[in-house]
Symmetry: none
Subunit: 221 residues, 4 copies
DNA sequence: CATGAATGAGTTTTCATTCAT
DNA sequence: CATGAATGAAAACTCATTCAT
């Protein structure tokens, strides 16, 4: 499992090996439970070298988040062709997303779970990436509405909430798919696409569900 | 904030005070960063007493997860009346869910975030509760389909995926609502309900989105 | 040498034991070369206890400096009776000083050497005590001049320099006496007293040595 | 500040550059807090080269002490002309001493402070030089007594103590002058000369201060 | 010669946990 | 019951020092 003990590698290569090891350990044990000793051992180097290249546990973790967040965003972007219609673009994006999170479960754990549970600094780092994805999805929803030639003025705030819900659902499904034996990226994407596109279609066509009067909200503290 | 230092309380009460303190600290600092010293101090008792009643940090954390998970499930259950139609039941459930998570942010942090980021044991504990909620939603979807008198045979696996997506979206929205100034439980519920019920409605009526052939899945590692 | 391993001592006592050990180690090895491990072992306690009571290596060192500086000043003060003439007071002060530094060589090393070689913070701590001693000596010189009924207006700046030189000479002699076999406190005091009081006497009576014109200062960079 | 990066300098030159850097860093940070990395960087050479030329941190420090101690002794010697009377020789020596320590504060810190606070080995190195100076002063005192044609038999032991006190006072004044804004070498020398020569004069002429009977020594531990 | 790559050994510090009273 | 006293075990981080190129 650990990298083969090879001597005298150029710095850039060693750094990637260290990040590989760190992502695996951080993803498995969590940020705090992960020990630099373990990471160094898995990377096949001594601890001082890790500190020489990555400075501190915090910096190492930040570097992991950045690398994996970028990799995920890139994967989604590369999966989408801008010359296709909106629904197809959403589908391709979801597929790429679920494929990447399935292929790199530790990375997904780091970016989605660990980064968000250990302080604002790390959370902000991951949030930056998430925003890119949310923006991408928001754009697709708006375009989708326009392509359907209906309700071109779906209110912005509403769209933001929908995008948030859609991305949230995707994130949760990714965790679920990783944890559940036998669920493929395609299946996860299909489930969500079905769920989402129909609902979005309805909305863009003016059909919506109306809540009962606020009175019955009372009683929940 | 910490319980007033009173002598000779019945064990059950003292235990609840300790759990209150523990939930607050665990929710704020995270499992590992929380120190037993701090918890004991906030609870207004001596450290050995915490150990006498709760055995260990792990057991204490587990007890927190169990108590808060149950409280959340109970809150959702109490919010729903079985004599109402499915869509209304879903609405009421969501409302109760968002209201509870907003009212107890530390508890929600413990159950949703901390429990899932510090090892399988704790994750399993939280997963048990989650399953109850997923089952509840699954039931609602099935009933909803039946009430609509259409497609009574929506495949089980499909329904499971939909419930999972819906619950996942709700969880994400809860985090988002807690973190975003000015988003009420009602608004969060409305956003999700709109999104979900329309999509579900379509599905139960046989309209669905068809993915392109699997060939283009290739290339995503 | 190390304190006998006794269990369950009151905090105040343990703290003194720790300070005793710390002074010995710091005095012997120097601040940086001293390890908390060694100090704890010599004190007969575990390292965590040292940290529980003294917080950090810096705080521990500061506590040592304060305790030993106070002890030295107190020793000198207690050795002097205000109802005696100035020369006798100076003699008694010197005697007390050399006796104390000889009896507590590690403490003297800490206060005089270590405190001054490891950063401004520690140096300031020791300087505070030194100032008390310098002030005491300055006072004695002034009083001595007055008692001699001559030159009551010895300039302040001059007196300050003299006190500084006298204290400096005493400090150096203390180190020398500690390092040289067979030099007693009495002898050290006598040497310095002889040297100083005669010189001071001359000065207070207007005899002084006149340097040659400044021209020949040139050439020394 | 650091030497300009030039290639292929003769070994002797490179060594001096390294020592320059080392003295600066050791003087500023102290022996233990100084890092070989920092020294190598300031010297403008790679770390392995420092080891190639100077062997180890200990050896490097020793080399610094030796070089700077010699430089100081040389400075004092060069400042003194043997054809002048004793008092003038003492004055010139002091002037050279204070001028040198003021011009090379890091060097003075290394020789006087650092060398004495980090173990016997280094202390002995510095002590060797100090002895030369003490011998020089001892000689001056003896000659001074003879020139005054009185008490040619001032006991040796006494003279040694006096020389020690004088040198100690000079050392302390040097530190004080370096730390105090606006004190020139001339002023420091004048203060000490005045203080010392008068006192010595008295002594060489048989006037001395007599301590009270030893009885009252009792009680100082 | 010169240097980038690499590490063994040690440092300070923290924490969950347990006795003795 | 309640608590002050105490610790074993481990974690993050640093540094003098050495090869291979």
């Amino acid at each position: 499992m650990g990298a083969v003990k090879t001597k005298r590698m150029p710095r850039a290569v060693r750094e990637q090996q260290m990040l590989d090891a760190a992502v695996e350990i951080f993803g498995q044990r969590g940020y705090m439970a992960a020990s630099m000793d373990e990471i160094a051992e898995l990377a096949g180097v001594s601890k001082p070298l890790v500190y020489l290249y990555l400075n501190s546990k915090e910096d190492l973790f930040t570097a992991c988040i950045r690398r994996e967040a970028s990799a995920l965003v890139d994967a989604v972007r590369s999966g989408v062709r801008t010359d296709l219609p909106a629904d197809r673009r959403l589908w391709d994006g979801l597929l790429a997303f679920f494929a990447h999170t399935a292929a790199h479960p530790h990375a997904w754990s780091v970016v989605h779970l660990q980064a968000r549970t250990h302080g604002e600094t790390f959370a902000a780092e991951a949030a930056a990436m998430r925003e890119e994805i949310v923006a991408f999805v928001t754009h697709l929803i708006a375009v989708g509405a326009r392509e359907a030639h209906r309700d071109p003025d779906l209110p912005e705030r509403e769209v933001a909430g929908l995008a948030e819900a859609l991305v949230g659902a995707a994130e949760s499904l990714a965790v679920w798919a990783n944890a559940t034996e036998g669920v493929t990226a395609r299946q996860a994407a299909a489930t969500l696409m079905n769920f989402a596109w129909a609902g979005l279609g309805d909305l863009t066509q003016g059909r919506s569900w109306s809540p009962p009067p606020a009175a019955d909200d009372v009683g929940h503290a």
